[in-house]
């Protein structure tokens, strides 16, 4: 890359902002669906998950990009996995140390970041062929794109399934049928199928707003 290119050139800005909508890892690339189903019952775990992925993905992108010319092609997947696994263990330890309650809920899924398709996808598709700085931006952009969808899904599921947002009760207690009201939480929202359906609906809306994403037959 020439020195003339500034840190936030149009090309670099694209790396951050494209994954938010037009090139979203979940609703367009359809990667990382498993964790979108697993951690989106409540918003809090979804938020912590987003942060963890943000850290792991951006750092892993930079590290792999730094050593991209040293990695023998045939064992690159293993090298990438080692990098990711190291970072995931670090994140897991930090969570255990500072937010133990959430870490207890999340530790299984944090471990599973290793197999999150977004990470492998970005390392393979971007970091292996680009310099550290664009790779860093790409990691941040994709992690945010992932996080946005995660938070939307978690918002819908927590509001309708548990009547709260970020743990704060939104639906007044008096509305519930057991207290003489008329309302009842939707039990289906807490089950995983509803996460899949919510993601499906988001994809539906996203595609009808961005016609160019629809494949031509």
């Amino acid at each position: 890359m020439s020195e003339k290119e500034s840190l936030f050139s149009a090309k670099n800005r694209k790396l951050i902002f494209n994954p938010l909508s037009k090139d979203n890892p979940i609703v367009v690339q359809v990667l990382g669906i498993c964790s979108a189903l697993a951690v989106t019952v409540k918003m809090k775990p979804a938020f912590v998950m987003t942060l963890s992925v943000l850290v792991v993905l951006s750092v892993a992108n930079v590290l792999v990009s730094l050593i991209r010319n040293l990695i023998p092609n045939r064992i690159r997947i293993i090298v990438q996995l080692v990098v990711i696994a190291t970072l995931v263990i670090l994140v897991d330890q930090v969570l255990k140390a500072f937010v133990y309650d959430i870490s207890k809920q999340l530790s299984v899924f944090v471990g599973l970041i290793i197999t999150n398709c977004i990470l492998m996808g970005r390392l393979e598709a971007f970091a292996l062929g680009n310099k550290p700085w664009p790779s860093f931006l790409d990691g941040i952009g994709n992690a945010f794109g992932y996080g946005i969808i995660l938070m939307i899904v978690a918002f819908v599921r927590e509001l309708l399934g548990s009547g709260s947002v970020f743990g704060f009760k939104i639906i007044p207690d008096a509305w519930y049928i057991k207290n003489g009201g008329f309302y009842e939480n939707n039990g289906l929202m807490v089950l995983s199928p509803m996460a899949l359906i919510t993601v499906g609906v988001i994809i539906w809306i996203h595609r009808s707003r961005n016609r160019d994403l629809v494949e031509q037959k």
């Binding site: 049928i177 039990g187 289906l188 499906g200 539906w204």
Partner: protein
């Protein structure tokens, strides 16, 4: 009829392109084809002209459900007065049930048709007829005490996610009415199962458990007699209790050729086979329920006659229909008896087989092609 034609002709210019009320075009179209056979004929290709269109065939299905509906209304009142320990006149009983069931029907049709019309308008096609049947099925397969807004939410879910997302009526993989019921069952379990919801305003001391729940709990000594179950004077979802009323519906469907007798017959056989198999092993009380009883319990008869035969979501090939029906009956009893958490196995079995119907058809067609190919292969 002439009067209606005249009124419709008066309005017509306004809803056509450029008219003032163009936004209501789909709605007008729906009303017009409801009263009169559309004048459109195919210009080429098909030359068989038959006035029966999907609107008319759907109406026949609704007619076939009327006996179950009327009986259901009466039974709602009957169960109510029974739980209070009172006796009431036939008409009082029926009217009580009528006032309980009518709101469910209004909500189900209101929500479903509103969404259908909006979508038809947005996509610029006619209002599809599929919801005629679903709108009547939904009230018949819920407990009488279910809150109306839950029915509205479930109907909206079934129409939007179950039907419109797949491209509208006729393209849906799952039966919309059962999608709505499954949604209710998993979203609001406390209002779809248990002892309290099956009888309207029941007295506290009276056990309102359905025979199906008693059977799942293993209390088979509490099961009502065959006669009661056949005529349907038992608690349960509104339309599912009376095997007699359902048989009348089945007769109408089979006589008019709208419902497939192959699916119904093989479904009943599948249920019987599984029932008998369970009787042979009979390690717990609910496995000892006689196979014939299983056919009368819960929604089995209703599901096999009205939902399994849904022409959109069922298998299309002739052999496929036998396989599809048999597996529905077989799985329904299997789920019901061996998984006490989901006593209403009929719903799950039909939904599962809805998903498998295209696969069954595919293999039936492939087998046919292979068989015929063998015939033409020339020995080298």
């Amino acid at each position: 009829m002439k009067f209606i034609r005249k009124q419709l002709d008066n309005i017509k210019p306004q809803v056509q392109k450029g008219g003032k009320l163009q936004a209501f075009h789909s709605f007008y179209d729906a009303i017009e084809t409801l009263f009169f056979v559309p004048k459109k004929t195919s210009a080429s290709g098909v030359h068989v002209h038959d006035p029966i269109d999907s609107k008319r065939s759907m109406i026949i299905v609704v007619l076939a459900m009327i006996p179950a509906l009327l009986f259901g209304m009466w039974n709602v009142g009957y169960q109510h007065f029974l739980s209070l320990g009172e006796t009431a006149e036939l008409w009082t009983t029926f009217l009580y049930g009528f006032t309980k069931v009518l709101p469910l029907i209004v909500v189900s049709y209101g929500v479903g048709l509103t969404i259908e019309i909006i979508v038809a308008q947005m996509r610029g096609h006619e209002v599809k007829e599929g919801f005629f049947v679903s709108g009547m099925l939904i009230p018949l397969i819920v407990p009488v005490d279910v809150p109306l807004w839950m029915v509205a939410v479930a109907t909206a879910f079934a129409v939007i996610i179950g039907v419109e997302a797949f491209g509208g009526a006729g393209m849906n993989v799952l039966n919309p009415a059962l999608t709505a019921r499954a949604f209710l069952f998993f979203a609001y379990p406390s209002h779809m199962s248990g002892d309290a919801v099956w009888i309207a305003e029941k007295a506290d001391g009276f056990s309102g458990a359905t025979p199906l729940a008693e059977s799942a709990a293993g209390n088979i000594q509490n099961l009502p007699s065959m006669v009661e179950m056949f005529f349907g004077t038992i608690p349960g979802s509104i339309g599912e209790t009376s095997a007699l009323a359902i048989l009348i519906g089945a007769f109408i469907l089979i006589y008019t050729g709208i419902g497939s007798w192959k699916i119904m017959l093989s479904g009943v056989i599948g249920g019987l086979v599984m029932g008998l198999l369970l009787n042979v092993f009979a390690v717990n009380p609910s496995m000892e329920v006689p196979a014939i009883h299983q056919l009368l319990l819960g929604g089995f008869a209703f599901g096999i006659v009205f939902m399994a035969t849904d022409p959109v979501s069922a298998a299309q090939t002739s052999t496929g229909k036998y396989i599809y029906g048999f597996l529905i009956g077989f799985l329904a009893i299997l789920i019901r008896v061996l998984n006490p958490a989901y006593p209403e196995g009929v719903m799950l079995a039909i939904l599962l087989m809805n998903v498998f119907a295209p696969l069954i058809d595919h293999y039936v067609v492939q087998a046919n092609i292979k068989r015929r190919l063998k015939r033409v292969t020339v020995k080298a």
